[in-house]
């Protein structure tokens, strides 16, 4: 039998450590298949910004292969905890609820939200507030942060399991708008060659319940794998905190200095606490 999942570090009693990964010679990460964060490339190998970060970090740790297992967004953390892989590499944003269930690394990437709408933006949608007042059909990705926004704001949503399905829902009229991180949406439209039918609105920092939803994404580990996380953080911090290195690793995926975590967004513990600045 050939297993399709199975974490590389062995999921016996003692948990995954750098040395157990080294012994296996590889690390398996869970991804959602969201370009440009992490996805399966044309050659069948994992690719994307967070994968590039992983590769850089693990290389320093002496692990040369990064494999990916694609699952639905909402299954990323349950899959991690059930041992299907050892890390979630999906630019997952750091949220209090998630911090209770898993351990987030030093922030990798900040992001803003955008909306995917039919060409010409017929309903004239630009912010989360618009979605509420105009009563539109919103799609979000199941388990993604935008679903949480909608829920808090009392907007009904349909959910899909992958960005492609969100795009399709807008394309074939099943939905009016698909909310996701700005970079994801832009890349999605490009790779799916959907420019003729849809467009992506200007990115914004969502404001929900009077709070500005600043946020940063990070790699996610099992809470029990503390030493692995520490080792990972040590190497990751070096890249993130250095604009040049950051650009060298993720620049080609469309990430710029604007997406590099700085100040409050480099504080995992703060983001985990759920305290957010007030919206102006």
């Amino acid at each position: 039998l050939s297993g399709c999942g199975g974490s590389s570090g062995g999921s016996g009693g003692s948990g995954t450590t750098v040395s157990s990964l080294k012994k296996a010679g590889k690390v398996v990460v869970g991804i959602n298949g969201e370009n440009p964060y992490s996805f399966i490339g044309k050659d069948g190998k994992p690719d994307g910004a967070t994968i590039a970060l992983d590769k850089a970090v693990y290389k320093k740790l002496g692990i040369n292969t990064v494999e990916a297992k694609k699952v639905e967004w909402d299954a990323l953390i349950p899959g991690l905890n059930s041992g299907q892989y050892d890390e979630v590499s999906a630019g997952m944003s750091i949220l209090p609820d998630r911090c209770k269930k898993a351990a987030f690394s030093y922030p990798e990437i900040t992001y803003e939200t955008a909306l995917l709408v039919p060409k010409g933006n017929p309903k004239n949608l630009h912010t989360m507030q618009d979605l509420k007042t105009k009563k539109v059909n919103l799609v979000t990705e199941n388990g993604a942060i935008e679903q949480g926004y909608a829920k808090t704001m009392g907007i009904q949503t349909q959910t899909v399991g992958s960005p492609e399905e969100g795009l399709q829902a807008v394309e074939n009229g099943q939905a009016d708008v698909f909310a996701l991180t700005a970079i994801s949406l832009r890349t999605l439209v490009k790779t799916q060659k959907a420019e003729g039918k849809v467009e992506v609105t200007k990115a914004f920092t969502a404001s929900v319940g009077g709070k500005l939803q600043i946020g940063a994404g990070a790699a996610v580990f099992r809470k029990s794998d503390k030493s692995l996380l520490a080792a990972y953080n040590k190497e990751l911090k070096k890249i993130i905190d250095d604009p040049k290195q950051f650009n060298a690793v993720v620049g080609k995926y469309g990430f710029t200095e604007a997406e590099r975590p700085q100040g409050k967004t480099t504080d995992t513990a703060y983001l985990c606490s759920g305290k957010l600045p007030d919206a102006k």
Partner: protein
Amino acid sequence: MPDLSSIAPSGVVSTLQDNWHNLLDGLRVTLELSVFGGALAFVVAVLLGLASISRFAVLRGISRVIVEFFRGTSLVVQLFFLAYVTPVAFGWGSHLLLFGIVALGLNYGAYGSEVVRGSLNAVPPGQWETTTALSMPWITKIRRIIWPQAWALMLPGLNNLMVMLVKGTAIAYFIGLYDLTYVSDELRKGGADMWTVYGIAFVIYYFAALAFSAVLRRLEVRAQRRLGIRPSKSRTTRATAEAVA
């Protein structure tokens, strides 16, 4: 790992050309689930079926509880439970293919045990009584007399269940096993012509089910010829419906 990103809408032939290795990978998982799941289901069915006619009330009770539990809770629920809950609860790590096989094996095994039980009970009482009259120990009685006769009666029902199991493997894609359904669905999401990719999967499933069914059918014919009987089709249909309910 499927390579699913570079598919342009195209005809059957070119879709096949571009993706045959993905489809083949998917088919392999589907067949592994079918063969190993079917084998496990058979073992479970026989064990639970025999336990259900045991002289020991405890064994009968245990078998009953197991059977009703797996029959009563949906296979999909069992699958999710195995894949996402048990690794956390028992710390035995994640082995998706194995979980798929186990879920199919236990669930269809529980169904099958009803067919096995029904067939054992359908062996005429006179046969049971004769084994007592000849003082046969329980094992001999079952192994030499009752089982060979029940075997011919249970095969048609097991055949029906096997076809259902082959189809049932498709749910493995819900837990992210890269089976045939997963692959074709990914291909569609990736932009391949939906009729083509689903059509190919559809045809493959159909012939896979036919093939499994044909193998069991041969066993069935052989077993029946040996006994000089012909089990009734209406009994089989009824028994199958009863088993899966």
